[in-house]
């Protein structure tokens, strides 16, 4: 990273437009300012698109068709394919696009709070509405019939973006910062293999405007290598320097290799086998290639002295080019330390002060369904979304810190948003559950029997099976004593169903009401 401290400070009314100091001397004027000039004239077509998109969204909500989250974008882009570029260029503080297999939503949440601490108004897209139309919708609903953004566009936007939609979103949005969290196998039937996904992201990076910055995970070889030979943009790397391994871990060596999913084993440059001097989970760690010498870049934003507080949180020392701070997150696990680091690196890239970064990270409360706590029927329900082997391994690792008898509901759906191929459950380390003090275990979802079978082969008996999630939730709650905690580990649509059921029973607010104004 070359220019972290030369960024204009954020916050206050006098903050300049989305200007990042370009490392290219050929671009003295801010890219964002140049872009706005391009769109300086009125664009009647965009105005029409905004009106139509907003009307469609309002109608969908009135007809109770759900949150109507992507519809405004869909309609508006149909009327004006350039509308996202047009509105994106009006954002005075630019936009941040965040992608990756795991942690998109949580990282976006952290980043939004960090930027708010810096005094910015932050607009986000809605949970799950992370395709092109969802990102467009997030700006359409903040658009005026004149074709301009509300409040003169005095805001920054933070968008979580689907892995495959990333190139299209980046090409249209022209973000100021892009951040990539990690790359794991996920929904092979939908996304293809991890190499295909990395290729999407490289394509996105090739379309970045001058002055844009990259935030990349140094510990993930496939992500760290994305910058490639790009020297036109500044990259802020983040990584974990040291973290303890928990006591339920399988020892290193053959036994570990047999149970752990590692999606990147070979050098992104020369394809030789990588070696790890430290490996935190899956292929995240301190890697190097013995053949060509390519190695983990030294991260600009680091976590040291990571200390787990079980499911309640985690502490670490945040190290940045402008100083260090002790940080405590209200989210559990090393995977959330990575999410927080990514957000801190976004903050660093945008010139946010270290104190504000720390405050933002500490104030952030769990995103929808991610270690979210909901009181229900005199019990605590903890929703722990897990949608792929690494995700579930990390959730189980965090659960391993709970010492009292565990009451669990595992829910596996195979709808399009979950991935129709449930093979991945055989790669997840459910053997860990056999070592936990489990008092009651219920499985639900469209593939409840597959999950029960997976648990049987992990040596776990006495599983309650109920594919329908409403009765499964009832059953799991009944099996949890009053005052106890029910841990729910669902895939994505199963999480929506369980949460929807909790809403229907009056225990939780509908999720679109929780979103930022």
């Amino acid at each position: 990273m070359k220019h972290p401290t030369t960024e204009p400070p954020l916050g206050g009314e006098t903050a300049p437009p989305a200007a990042t100091t370009s490392s290219s001397a050929a671009a003295p004027e801010s890219a964002a300012r140049g872009r706005r000039r391009l769109w300086s004239g009125q664009r009647p077509r965009a105005a029409l698109a905004i009106v139509a998109g907003r009307s469609a969204g309002a109608l969908a909500r009135r007809l109770r068709l759900g949150g109507g989250t992507s519809l405004p974008g869909l309609v508006a882009r149909w009327l004006d394919p350039q509308v996202l570029a047009y509105l994106g260029a009006q954002l005075r503080h630019g936009s941040v696009a965040i992608t990756g297999t795991n942690g998109k939503t949580t990282t976006s949440g952290f980043a939004a709070v960090v930027l708010r601490r810096a005094g910015l108004r932050v607009w986000r897209n809605r949970e799950g509405a992370n395709l092109l139309r969802g990102v467009a919708a997030a700006l359409i609903i903040r658009g005026k019939p004149t074709g301009h953004l509300r409040r003169g566009g005095d805001a920054a936007a933070v968008f979580e973006v689907d892995e495959a939609a990333f190139p299209a979103v980046v090409a249209e949005l022209r973000p100021r910062v892009i951040a990539v969290t990690n790359l794991f196998r996920d929904q092979l039937d939908r996304y293809g293999e991890v190499d295909t996904v990395a290729e999407h992201w490289r394509r996105a990076i090739s379309t970045l405007v001058p002055g844009a910055q990259l935030v990349l995970n140094a510990d993930d070889p496939a992500v760290a290598s994305l910058a490639g030979s790009d020297t036109a943009h500044t990259t802020v790397y983040f990584g974990v320097e040291e973290a303890p391994r928990d006591d339920t871990d399988v020892p290193d060596g053959a036994a570990r290799a047999a149970v752990e999913v590692v999606d990147t084993r070979t050098c992104p440059r020369c394809r030789a086998g990588l070696v790890f001097s430290r490996r935190f989970y899956s292929h995240l760690g301190h890697w190097s290639c013995p053949a060509c010498g390519y190695a983990r870049p030294q991260p600009d934003v680091q976590a040291r002295a990571v200390e787990s507080e079980g499911l309640d949180g985690v502490r670490f020392v945040l190290v940045t080019p402008v100083g260090e701070r002790a940080v405590r997150l209200s989210l559990p696990g090393l995977y959330n330390v990575y999410n927080a680091l990514a957000a801190a690196a976004v903050g660093v890239a945008m010139g946010v002060e270290l104190t504000q970064i720390r405050e933002g990270l500490e104030r952030f409360t769990p995103a929808f369904g991610r270690a979210e706590r909901i009181a229900a029927a005199s019990r605590d329900v903890r929703l722990l979304l897990a949608k792929n082997p690494t995700g579930i391994n990390e959730v189980l690792r965090a659960l391993g810190a709970v010492r009292e008898p565990l009451h669990l509901l595992l829910a596996l759906n195979d709808r399009a948003a979950d991935g129709e191929d449930v093979s991945w459950i055989w790669d997840a380390d459910f053997e860990r559950v056999a070592a936990m003090p489990v008092a009651a275990l219920t499985v639900g979802g469209t593939r409840a029997y597959d999950l029960a079978l997976r648990l049987k082969y992990a040596g776990i008996a006495g599983v309650g099976i109920e594919p329908e999630l409403a009765p499964a939730l009832t059953l799991a709650l009944e099996r949890t004593p009053v005052g106890g905690t029910l841990y729910v580990i669902p895939t994505y649509t199963a999480m929506l169903s369980v949460r929807g059921e909790l809403e229907r029973r009056g225990y939780a607010a509908p999720y679109w009401e929780q979103q930022d104004a």
Partner: protein, 274 residues
């Protein structure tokens, strides 16, 4: 190696080909299933990784397994199969060692793989079959799948871009009841040569198809210990949950689990309703 005594508890040795490179489609589920179904019967299943560069020692393995991987890994593996593993693998085929090859492994056990672009990938030709990728315009074969096999059914998930075609000498593993199978054209799925089974079905394949898992174990035990000992060792297990999971999938695919015909085909629930 030969002296694995029954009194000590029988031991089988499974050679897992390229677990580092080929592990994409829940292949671990197949190994886990074989391991546990052995353990529940007091049989020890020893799993040995056969990585790149490691030859297959003659008579060292009672079973071999090869899974699927990403394209870039397939190439390395193909080269290693043709050179380092070639002799040992063919010896095992001739010795009727049971083998299971899934997805990418299935393609590499056939004659060749012709990608949409780039050079042909030469397989080792255990199966008289070949695979052609017709380019990105041709959709992948993705989804749940069911086939008729040995008077019963197999269920799972398939996800392959290449279309596999069987030569005149080749025998399919089963007949497609739902899904695409080898190529989505001829209703055939997988391939069998001697005791070598190739298939696109994962999910994982073996957990929900306990009869197929036991068939592989039966072949391995009979080879190693003879029919009598095999029969004594391969005691029946309670597969209630396995078959529930199996039948849930059959029903979702519109097939009635109660109506499996002796040739393994199943009356569809839709047809029954007419």
């Amino acid at each position: 190696m030969r002296e694995r005594e029954r009194s000590e508890g029988a031991t089988l040795v499974l050679g897992h080909l390229y677990p580092e490179q080929l592990n994409v489609y829940g292949d671990r589920g197949n190994i886990l299933t074989l391991t546990q179904r052995c353990a529940w019967r007091g049989i020890r299943l020893e799993v040995t990784a056969l990585e790149l560069g490691a030859p297959i020692q003659p008579d060292a393995f009672d079973m071999l397994f090869i899974g699927g991987g990403q394209d870039r890994e397939q190439e390395e593996v193909a080269r290693d199969l043709r050179t380092v593993k070639h002799e040992g693998l063919w010896a095992a085929v001739e010795a009727d060692v049971p083998m299971l090859a899934v997805c990418g492994g299935y393609q590499l056990f056939a004659r060749f793989y012709r990608p949409a672009e780039g050079p042909e990938l030469e397989g080792i030709g255990i199966f008289d079959a070949w695979t052609i990728h017709k380019g990105k315009a041709t959709p992948r074969c993705v989804g749940n799948v069911a086939l008729a096999w040995a008077g019963s059914t197999l269920v799972g998930f398939e996800n392959h871009g290449g279309r596999t075609y069987l030569g005149p000498q080749a025998r399919a593993l089963g007949q497609v009841l739902a899904g695409h199978g080898n190529n989505g054209e001829d209703q055939r799925e997988g391939c069998v040569h001697r005791n070598v089974f190739g298939t696109y079905v994962h999910g994982s394949l073996l957990p929900k198809n306990p009869h197929f898992a036991d068939h592989l174990l039966h072949l391995a035990l009979a080879q190693r210990f003879g029919d009598d000992v095999c029969a004594a060792l391969l005691t029946p297990l309670d597969d209630g949950l396995e078959w529930q999971a199996h039948d849930v999938m059959l029903r979702r695919l519109g097939l009635d689990p109660g109506k499996v015909r002796s040739d393994g085909t199943v009356e569809s629930t839709a047809a029954a309703a007419l």
